[in-house]
Amino acid sequence: MQDSKLPLLLIHEVGGTRGVLEAHVPFLKKHFQLITMKEFLESKEYYCAQVQAIYSWWHKPVIDRELLKSLPNLKVISSAGVGTDHLDLKLISGFGVRIANTPHAVHSTTADIGMALLLAAARRLVEGCQIAVSPDTGYFSNNWLGEEVTGATLGIIGMGSIGYKIAQRARAFEMKILYHNRNRRKEDEEQAVGACYCGAIEDLLQQSDFVMLVVNLTPRTYKLIGKKELQLMKPTASLINISRGQVVDQDMLVEALQTGVIKSAAMDVTYPEPLPRDHPLLKLKNVIITPHVGIKTHKTTFMITEDAVSNVLAALNGLPMPSEVFPD
């Protein structure tokens, strides 16, 4: 029987598609009494005044007005990962509830996936693996080629912490780095990675062999990459998306890939996830899609939970949270 003096933490579920990872449960139970949405809904009246915190994992549980109204003593919502586009920050704040994310745990791991996708796209890794194991393969052609990464130009759109770590990695491949960001970085930061600022996104698009999207999803970045932007890119270029699916106009992307406006694309994110099974993106040979695995390693997911717990404990003790998020 769990220690009932521990604060009550509401989660969506354990395991499954959107649940908190089973491997994390023992750690969580050291600090909290865990209650799932199912248990909560079955005994709402008993639990509602006791719930002080919610741990949002993979956008669940859904935080709406109804839920907020039913939890009078809710102090904090701790959201796994860095994106908070799934939360209505103004609404939540209006109820006097604090919000936290876990940005630091994700930077290196997400940068790793960005580079993994860039390399896989450039060298046609997924196609190559299919050839290597296909029952129809009789020999390897020597004329089956990819694009060179070393010395190529990488355009990073969004040079926050993750974008910067991508620049650090790309530099080791002797890539020429262009970047576009709301704000220009300091000179010493630019010099440390050899990054060249492009005030106009058009300049970045026209010169890059690889374009990597590393922005938050906001009204300003919604469909940031549309028909015009794709046409500005080189026909030999690859688009890599590790932001959110909605940053790209997906229909225009399909057209661009089908007609050779750009060479290939690799994306860890789409809209929706997963895509409908008849979506054209699933059938294109020059597309690599991964199932939103940006932060999905054993180590990082555990660090995210550790950070989330730190945020919750700070909030419950009336202390500043390590990574509090405020509405704009």
Partner: protein, 327 residues
């Protein structure tokens, strides 16, 4: 003299899946009189004395004693790529013929591919793509996880040009780097990439989360990684091979992968290539194989061709041959 300006150079074939690239021919014909094997065999009497060089593109034409004996004025063989394990260097040398390879043209794309394989394996890119596009996929499972690259330990076996470039790249991913090499690198080189020398291979194997092979194939490196070495590796470790298939005892590798002795493998090279279609390696879930893509970029292949042209031009003129391979 005309013949020296456009030395007669033997090639296998132009075009198709394994011939000299059609878009390289214009440049080659600026410098050489190209003779295909077909033309040579049809006209041996006339051509055999004229041929001064062989442009060996992906191991063809095959150079054996018969061919060497039929080319009395052969001065140089330019081989594409860095590996010369398929050539009988002693035999060729005994005919007074020089051999050149193209080590520098391949080093960047091969190091890049080593990193691509390590990242793809750790983060399960190939499996992930299959899930993302599968007609059966309804949702993405939350507990589907990969291995961390940043902060992990990479053990590099073979720290030549390619191995060192791997180290430079891996360092930027915040990896710890161990290396094993015939000769220790100088301190400045080590410090520049934060690499720690392991004089004993065993120490590297026991300490690494990822082990990458970037050695030449030689009698010393044949089956360098066998049952003993695999058992020394961590059960959570991944083996990446960008050298030659024969550097690994393939049967021992299959066993190790089947029994969880190591976690996974990512191979750009096997023995033979391709593997027979019923080979166990093709059916293991924890293996990714690429069809020997180490130098497979247009840029690298173009540079290789240019390097080979330089070596041939020097060789037929009696000048020092760039990238000469000594026996």
């Amino acid at each position: 003299m005309e013949e020296n300006e456009h030395p007669y150079t033997l090639i296998n074939v132009i075009g198709g899946t394994n011939g000299v690239y059609e878009d390289h021919v214009e440049f080659l014909e600026k410098h050489f009189k190209l003779i295909t094997m077909k033309e040579f065999t049809e006209n041996k009497q006339d051509l055999s004395h004229k041929i001064k060089a062989i442009f060996m593109w992906f191991h063809k034409p095959v150079v054996d004693r018969d061919l060497l004996q039929s080319l009395p004025n052969l001065k140089v063989i330019a081989n594409c790529g860095v590996g010369v394990d398929h050539l009988d260097l002693k035999l060729i040398s005994s005919f007074g013929v020089k051999v050149a390879n193209t080590p520098f043209a391949v080093s960047n794309p091969t190091a890049d591919l080593g990193m691509a394989l390590m990242l793809a394996s750790a983060r399960r890119i190939v499996e992930g793509h299959q899930i993302a596009v599968s007609p059966d996929t309804k949702c993405f499972m939350a507990d589907w996880l990969g291995e961390e690259i940043n902060g992990a330990t990479l053990g590099i076996i073979g720290m030549g040009t390619i191995g060192y470039k791997v180290a430079q790249r891996a360092r930027a991913f915040e990896m710890n780097i161990l290396y094993h090499n015939r000769n220790r690198r100088n301190e400045a080189d080590e410090q520049a990439v934060g690499a720690v020398y392991c004089p004993k291979l065993e120490d590297l194997l026991q300490g690494s989360d990822f082990v990458i092979l970037s050695v030449n194939l030689s009698p010393q490196t044949q089956k360098l990684i066998g049952r003993k070495e695999l058992e020394l590796m961590k059960p959570t470790a991944t083996l990446i091979n960008i050298s030659r298939g024969q550097v690994v005892d393939q049967d021992a590798l299959v066993n190790a992968l089947k029994n969880g002795v190591i976690k996974a493998a990512a191979l750009d090279v096997t023995y033979p290539e391709p593997l027979p279609r019923d080979h166990a390696l093709l059916h293991l879930k924890n293996v990714i194989i690429t069809p020997h893509l180490g130098s497979a970029t247009s840029k690298a292949r173009h540079l290789m061709m240019r390097n080979m042209v330089e070596s041939i031009l020097a060789g037929v003129s009696g000048l020092p041959v760039p990238n000469e391979v000594h026996v």
